[in-house]
Amino acid sequence: MKVEQISVFLENKPGPLTEVTRILGEAGVNIRALSLADTKDFGILRLIVNDNEKARAVLGAKGFTVRKTEVVAVEVPDRPGGLADILKILSEATVNVEYLYAFVQQSGSNAIIIFRFDETDRAIEVLSKKQVKILEGKKVYAL
């Protein structure tokens, strides 16, 4: 039920983001979704790609610090209030969302949102009980 995400540490200077995307492109790795968290001094690029192992290997070889994290891909009804309903379920169960970002493609008529929780397993349990649809990793990488 979990999706693997890779994160890359970026210094806050011109160049690294171009470099990361170029390396992935040359290795034939396709980026499925991404989010960039930035602070005054550094950035963290989070990626869902079609080939995690390859992405880690090529970026690591070029000296980037890469880390694998488990996130959850949730199908969210593509209508007003769709995301709010899901967040309500989570907040009622006091599950913390560390961050989230949207997937580019849709799954049928639903949007896909990537969630990073502090307690991933409990989040999955809470959402599943409420019949919220969670996507398998395999399906997400292939979208």
Partner: protein
């Protein structure tokens, strides 16, 4: 003004005879009372009785900061603790402090030498001395304080910090002499400007600045902004504290070393060879009157030149050039001694952090800044911003706790910093002083 006419203007011949007498006595005493010196002298195959002339000083072994650290805390004291009336300390190379002790007579001599220093800078008993050196383990505050009292001046023991109050007190109390680090003097100038206080309207006449390297350019700036005469003072806690040497107001060219208490040498820092006067090298001091903490040929790591030429002020004591650098990697940041190895040990004590770092020292306005670049490896990297930020804050706090300096940590990509094979550049000092 010359405080101690007799000793400060002693003819060279008499001065050197006095030095020899005191040197021999010191060598005999340390050989008899401090096991460290006995062992070292024996290893060198030299006995105190071998010292027949001042030239024989070079037959004695050097003492280094490492020796002081290895004897932590009181191993090099030459008197029983019951005779020690004061203890000071300064930072060492690995976080351990360098501890020094003083007998009642040492404190008395120090006060005399500081009184000489203040007088050489043009200060006298009618002065109000605004002492903004830190009071505490650091020798600056109490060193100047005792000298000012000995001189008979009125001393304001204000210590460092709280700059607005410093300006108000200077204004209200009519301070005439300021003692602090040169960079703090410039900071006070800025503070006064912000407060709309004009130094020209204050009674301040002289400033005596030390504890960190500065330049003629900084002197001009301080003299202009504070409307005072700026005098350079030198000292280090190992040798005594402030008052080892000072410029005279008459010449403001080189610092007179109080040679009836300290014998200076200049050596080649690589070979240890003694260099002739006029050549640049590392300053070495032998103390010849200290009781509690005598030092034989202590390597200061400060780079200077000795000038034996007579001075127009009438003092016969040799002058040293303003310290122009270090023969080791010690940095002085806002008056605090910082060794890169201390930062390294902080990093190594934090789980997952590798000791690949770069220190960038700069001066913003008048105050020194220290930025520490630390590489982010997979062990400490997180996909969450808050985790990385708290890592940075933790490193900053550890540095502050251990070294007492405020550092800013910048996380950088791995392998962007040079590795330690060969001579990695660990420090970039951008300060233009």
């Amino acid at each position: 003004m010359i405080w101690d006419e007799e000793f400060e203007t002693l003819p060279r011949e008499a001065l050197e005879a006095l030095q020899l007498k005191r040197l021999t006595a010191t060598a005999e005493r340390v050989y008899a009372t401090v096991p460290f010196y006995k062992k070292k002298f024996d290893e060198f195959g030299v006995k105190p009785s071998d010292i027949k002339s001042l030239k024989d000083l070079r037959r004695l072994p050097f003492t280094t900061k490492l020796d002081l650290r290895d004897s932590y805390p009181f191993g090099l004291f030459a008197v029983p603790m019951e005779q020690v009336v004061r203890i000071h300390a300064s930072s060492g190379t690995t976080g351990k402090q360098t501890v020094v002790g003083y007998t009642r007579r040492d404190i008395n001599n120090w006060a005399e030498l500081m009184a000489r220093s203040l007088a050489a800078a043009g200060s006298h008993k009618n002065d109000i001395i605004h002492n903004a050196y830190g009071y505490g383990l650091f020798t600056g505050g109490l060193g100047v304080h005792y000298g000012a009292e000995r001189l008979g001046a009125s001393v304001i023991p204000i210590s460092g910090g709280n700059s607005k109050r410093q300006i108000i007190i200077m204004q209200d109390f009519g301070s005439t002499v300021l003692t602090c680090t040169p960079s703090y003097a410039l900071f006070l100038a800025e503070t006064a400007e912000e407060m709309g206080v004009d130094f020209k309207k204050l009674k301040l006449r002289v400033g005596i600045f030390g504890a960190e390297p500065w330049s003629e350019k900084m002197r001009d700036e301080i003299e202009r902004k504070l409307n005072i005469q700026a005098i350079d003072i030198y000292g280090l806690s190992e040798v005594m504290g402030p008052g080892v040497s000072i410029e005279c107001l008459e010449a403001k060219q080189g610092l007179h070393i109080f040679e009836d208490h300290f014998i200076p040498e200049i050596i080649n820092p690589q070979t240890g060879e003694v260099l002739p006067h006029g050549e640049k090298g590392e300053l070495v001091f032998t103390t010849i009157t200290k009781e509690a903490f005598p030092l034989i040929r202590y390597r200061t790591r400060d780079i200077s030149v000795l000038y034996p030429q007579p001075c127009k002020c009438g003092r016969t004591h040799m002058r040293m050039e303003r310290v122009s650098g270090r023969s080791d990697d010690m940095l002085i940041i806002r008056g605090v001694n910082v060794f890169p190895s201390q930062i390294e040990s902080v990093l190594m004590n934090i789980e997952g952090v590798e000791p690949h770092y770069l220190l960038i020292v700069d001066r913003q306005g008048t105050l020194d800044t220290l930025d520490v670049h630390v590489e982010v490896n997979e062990k400490v990297f997180s996909d969450e911003v808050k985790n990385l930020q708290s890592l940075g804050r933790k490193i900053e706090k550890e540095i502050k706790d251990l070294l007492g300096v405020n550092a800013g940590v910048k996380l950088v990509e791995p392998k962007t910093l040079q590795r330690s094979e060969g001579k990695a550049q660990r420090v970039i000092d951008k300060r233009k002083i």
